[in-house]
């Protein structure tokens, strides 16, 4: 890089210019911090990120900076969590997030066919494992690792709702209920 160049390493986090934390969320975060010893605020970071993601749907650069400031940390301390833990989203996802379990017992129970079924139905690439969102932003489909319900394979989650023994007919019904 030349001296004085304005080129920078691209920021992997996305911006959310209208980021603003409403009072209720701020209060929730404040309460979460009290769950840990007073000098161990850092412990609250996962719970705070969950609360933020629940509200905004994803974690932006502004959210990372806000969380770090709230917990008396550097942004990198929060950023490294967002990139480590698979449940945290670094960009907005679909309104309905379909997470199909990929791991062995579900695979034996037909989860690959289930994932393919969703992808074909929603015009997504069945060969991709990672999250894919439909053009209208309504659905995100992805494979996730073991959801700990191997006895009722194949299983999946749609947002926070858990579904077990998902046949293709049941999958269609669930899709139909997503308004």
């Amino acid at each position: 890089m030349n001296a004085g160049s304005t080129e920078r390493i691209p920021n992997p986090l996305q911006h959310q210019p209208q980021f603003a934390v409403p009072g209720a969320l701020e209060a929730e975060v404040g309460e979460l911090i009290t769950h840990y010893p007073p000098d161990k605020k850092r412990s609250a970071s996962l719970m705070v990120l969950h609360a933020i993601q629940e509200h905004f749907g994803w974690i932006s650069q502004e959210a990372v900076e806000w969380t770090a400031q709230k917990l008396g940390l550097q942004p990198i301390n929060i950023y490294e969590l967002v990139t480590f833990y698979p449940m945290f989203r670094q960009r907005p996802m679909g309104k309905y997030q379909i997470k199909v379990c990929r791991t062995l017992s579900c695979a034996l129970g037909g989860s690959y066919k289930l994932h393919k079924h969703f992808c074909e139905k929603l015009g997504l690439d069945p060969h991709k494992h990672g999250p894919q969102t439909t053009k209208d932003g309504k659905f995100t489909v992805e494979f996730v690792e073991c959801l700990a319900s191997c006895g009722t394979a194949p299983v999946m989650m749609v947002n926070d709702e858990f579904y077990e023994g998902v046949s293709h007919a049941k999958a269609d019904e669930v899709l139909g209920n997503c308004k």
Binding site: H35, L46, F84, P86, M87, T103, L108, P126, E145, C150
Partner: protein
């Protein structure tokens, strides 16, 4: 006839049983806690006095309880390692991460009988002079975390938690802490790092044994959900009585999760060692046998990281013969009593009590590819042999399952797998990702070699070299 023995899951599936406090109280809930809190000091013949908590710890030692999370380590011993003289607070963490593929037992307790877990936890905390405890629950159990929070609030309202629990002067607070989708958080020091708000990088031991330097560098106990529920029953019935359940050195009951190609996949609570692996798979009280028209191919006996057993595999084990003397016997894999020690002697483990059954329709290479993809995804990335090795194995298996295999891939896989475990990594994930590969390749080598060879012959006909992994189209195969 082998039967279920429901101790922990006694009420969970009864019609009308709900996770609420009222229902738990109607079924005798928190009576054990009341008794535990009011246990009088006991004077021993040598003049020493044992406090209530000390007596509870002795009961747990006497019970022979072994951890139900995976390692099967003695719970009494784990508690005895706790540094009680450091002057620092002692913490207890309930490991509710339930992340080992094949395992779904803790889910049943959390969702159906959360107060039993809380009662066990409060007793364990009282026994160890803990005043702040956490339940580390996997992020995917969204509803589970809500159920636990509701249960905690109910308990607080009834003075079962707080500054003076049931007027005893003993104070305890418990909070729920949610993970966010990382398998490694099931490893206890990774879990502690995660609870401290960091990446779940397991800590090196020594010096970071949780019993001495755990959460916030304080003495910490990490116990599995099922283990803590067992504590409640040990406190209720006494350690000696609990030890009568199960078999010597493998005492009590445990909840076995059975999944894969059986007619009745599900969770079954049994006395440890009183039921064989074959009974768990075939008996109508348990797995109910394989699907019609299929025969057994392999069994993963203790979660996906356990070494696989091949159908028909025999083991020479020393067991007590009819006259009570130890004799060497040849035992079929299916006749192994399902306990901690026997499965270790047979070269595998009962781990988290998760049995995954594979029938003859299974492509064994595909099955291993599936497992290895999991470990490649979940390696925390701290130690090179594990981070790189798990990925290399997954890539080689990916190649093998996508028509780009080589005859020597079996050897290649074994070579990588042999170089990951055995003290080369900070935590046991190194073993967990290598064991399936080592055992699958050793026991089903012909299938791996045949697949690679067929690919090579086909490419020779097409007159082309193998494609590098990144150019192989990721075609998902539903054969598995």
């Amino acid at each position: 006839m082998p039967q279920e023995y429901r101790l922990i899951l006694k009420h969970a599936d009864q019609p009308g049983y709900t996770p609420g406090l009222d229902c738990y109280l109607r079924h005798g809930g928190y009576e054990t806690l009341k008794q535990a809190l009011t246990r009088a000091p006991k004077t021993l013949p040598d003049g020493k006095t044992l406090s209530g908590p000390e007596q509870l710890r002795d009961e747990v030692k006497l019970s022979g309880l072994r951890g139900r999370g995976g390692a099967g380590f003695s719970c009494g011993l784990k508690w005895s390692f706790v540094d009680r003289k450091s002057g620092k607070p002692i913490y207890l963490i309930c490991n509710a991460d339930e992340s080992e593929p094949g395992t779904f037992k803790d889910r049943q307790i959390i969702y159906k009988d959360p107060h039993q877990l809380l009662e066990g936890m409060i007793i364990a905390c009282y026994a160890n002079d803990v005043h702040l405890a956490y339940i580390y629950i996997r992020g995917e159990f969204v509803e589970g975390a809500k159920i636990l929070n509701r249960a905690l609030n109910e308990a607080r309202a009834k003075n079962l938690l707080g500054k003076h629990i049931l007027g005893s002067g003993y104070g305890l607070e418990i909070h729920v802490h949610r993970g966010a989708g990382a398998y490694i958080c099931g490893e206890e020091t990774g879990l502690i790092e995660s609870l401290e708000g960091k990446r779940a990088y397991p800590r090196i031991k020594p010096p970071y044994f949780p019993a001495v330097l755990g959460l916030y560098q304080c003495p910490t106990i990490v116990n599995n959900v099922e283990t803590l529920c067992a504590i409640k029953h040990i406190a209720a019935m006494g350690g000696a009585e609990y030890a009568k359940l199960g078999t010597p050195n493998n005492t009590g009951t445990r909840i076995v999760s059975i999944s894969g190609h059986v007619k009745r996949p599900g969770y079954y609570e049994v006395e440890v060692g009183k039921v064989t692996l074959g009974e768990l798979i075939h008996d109508t009280a348990f797995g109910g046998g394989l699907r019609d028209g299929h025969s057994l191919k392999a069994v993963i006996p203790g979660g996906s990281s356990a070494k696989v057993f091949k159908a028909g595999e025999k083991f020479k084990l020393r067991r007590k013969g009819p006259e009570g003397r130890e004799v060497e016997q040849e035992i079929d894999m299916l006749d192994l009593p399902y306990d901690f020690d026997t499965l270790i002697r047979a070269g595998s483990m009962s781990g988290s009590g998760a049995i995954i059954v594979l029938d003859d329709s299974t492509d064994i290479v595909e099955a291993l590819a599936n497992i290895s993809e999991f470990y490649a995804h979940e390696s925390c990335g701290q130690c090179t042999p594990c981070r790189e090795g798990s990925l290399w194995m997954s890539k080689a298996l990916h190649r093998l399952t996508h028509g780009e295999g080589r005859e020597q891939d079996a050897e290649y896989l074994a070579k990588i797998a042999d170089n990951i475990p055995g003290g080369r990594t900070i935590c046991a994930f190194g073993e967990a990702c290598a064991w399936p590969v080592q055992s699958f390749v050793a026991k089903f080598k012909d299938e791996f070699v045949a697949k690679g060879k067929a690919d090579e012959e086909r490419r020779a006909k097409e007159n082309r070299a193998a494609k590098p992994v990144r150019e192989i189209e990721l075609t998902l195969n539903a054969k598995c």
